[in-house]
Symmetry: C2
């Protein structure tokens, strides 16, 4: 019976034995992925040395996380978010040359059919919150302005809620809009200063955050998708650097280059020149897109 | 704004940033476990470099695996089983001195209240399958027989099904029994030769096995829980070394020391001496328990 020995599972050879079983996989990429996952999974278990009770607790956590998911709640994406995996996958898929604007996660609140609005329009449809003017320029990495760039923007309101989270309370398409640049690549629109908000924390992921002494908040931000012919699409946010959670975004979405400045403008001349009705936050942020290769 | 820089997430420092957020965790063990998991998770993602589509496919696999679970189906344990994690956790928690019988996984088919039977009883209640006589001795690592050791045994039938999988088809408690050794530590009971069987493969885990070119079968085996005062409890199987799946158990439960021999006995003298009615499989297997320290 000695002939069996090399093939059997032991604590020492565990990952090798499991991986060797995938020799007949038809999908080479899947086999490659499972090899990496198996090696790291076994290495992690060997470092952790879980008791049977701890292992079962992990099984139940994974089970409950799946069972929390439904058509409008994706608890596994939340888990990926709070473990920094979503941002890591985003980073790997969006390496940018120096000088280009950086990406961050899309998030769950984008809607595909927001209305296209004339440049300068106010995306706040219910007059709630502190007025905000956002403006800047979209150029390529060569510094040239991009004509006809599409700016898809969305944001939470002054209480930290998106329209889709408050149907019947906020107007449909509140704080969403699509704009197109002209030949000078400039853009401007009006909104309200967004507020920090928690990711959904009434499920297994929220419980995990609590046990880890972590809060569920994301610092205030505006979402952008920027598209232009001949350029790579950019999915990103800009953040309020003075937000209390700017250094502890629950999903790790903040990057140095995505910090905007929210300047409170009270000067009557500037208010008039900007076409605003009273004091407002001014946010100036330029974007630099990468030409497609 | 330079002061923010060191704290923000980048592709390079990703795991460190995520781990640093757990500094206020009250449960030290959880923080330690999450540190190991985060490091390996990020390392695996960096090696794999998943596309956004692949990442979402993984999210959906984990979601569906959770949603497949119910009161009688635990798909995450199956996933742990087919990735060798269940056996690894078993190995870590059951390191044995040389000469002691080795453990393997409990599996989902143990029932707590099987009847205690007189030594030699037949646990096969429906006369289906090839008769089998199992016998051996239970000793400590010092070689001394163990008196009053409790032997809890259960097995699949000749078609690869446990009684609990075929309620109304098999009699209740078919192929299950509890025996107690006498002062010589010996045991014997009758059953039927078990057959290989598949783990449940109609869910996400079965689909994964299929894509990896793996089958879902476990080689034929008998389950044991051995308990004796003053000794560590042993949860294990013994396997048929001639089973077609002996080198490819879907859950990696086979160990060299757990291979029994299933000898087909046709000799009339031996049949008579064993108290059997006709030809039968004889399985002789001794167990060696470890004294509690």
């Amino acid at each position: 019976m000695e002939t069996h020995e090399q093939g059997f599972f032991t604590e020492e050879n565990s990952a090798d034995v499991v991986i060797s079983r995938n020799a007949k996989a038809k999908n080479e990429r899947l086999a490659e992925v499972m090899e990496v996952i198996t090696r790291h999974l076994h290495a992690a278990v060997k470092e952790i040395e879980p008791t049977q009770e701890e292992w079962f607790e992990a099984i139940m956590f994974l089970t409950k996380t799946g069972q929390m998911c439904n058509d409008w709640r994706q608890e596994y994406i939340l888990l990926s978010d709070v473990l920094g995996v979503s941002m890591l996958v985003d980073a790997i898929n969006n390496r940018k040359p120096t000088g280009a604007s950086e990406s961050t996660v899309l998030g769950p609140f984008h809607v595909a059919d927001a209305p296209e609005l004339p440049m300068g329009a106010n995306i706040c449809l219910d007059q709630k919150g502190d007025p905000m003017l956002v403006r800047g320029r979209i150029t390529g990495t060569d510094g040239k302005p991009i004509d006809h760039a599409k700016i898809d923007v969305w944001q939470a309101n002054d209480e930290g809620f998106y329209d889709v989270q408050q149907k019947g309370i906020q107007p449909d398409f509140n704080l969403r809009g699509v704009f197109r640049t002209g030949p000078d690549g400039s853009y401007h629109f009006r909104g309200v200063k967004p507020k920090y908000y928690p990711i959904p924390d009434d499920g297994p992921v929220g419980q995990l955050l609590g046990k880890l002494g972590r809060h569920p908040y994301r610092p205030a931000h505006l979402h952008y998708i920027l598209e232009a012919e001949g350029y790579e699409t950019l999915v990103t946010h800009i953040f309020d650097p003075d937000d209390r959670y700017i250094n502890s975004d629950a999903v790790f979405g903040v990057k140095q280059s995505l910090l905007a400045r929210f300047d409170w403008v009270e000067d009557a001349e500037r208010i008039k020149a900007a076409g605003m009705e009273g004091p407002y936050f001014e946010v100036v942020h330029d974007f630099v897109l990468v030409p497609k290769t």
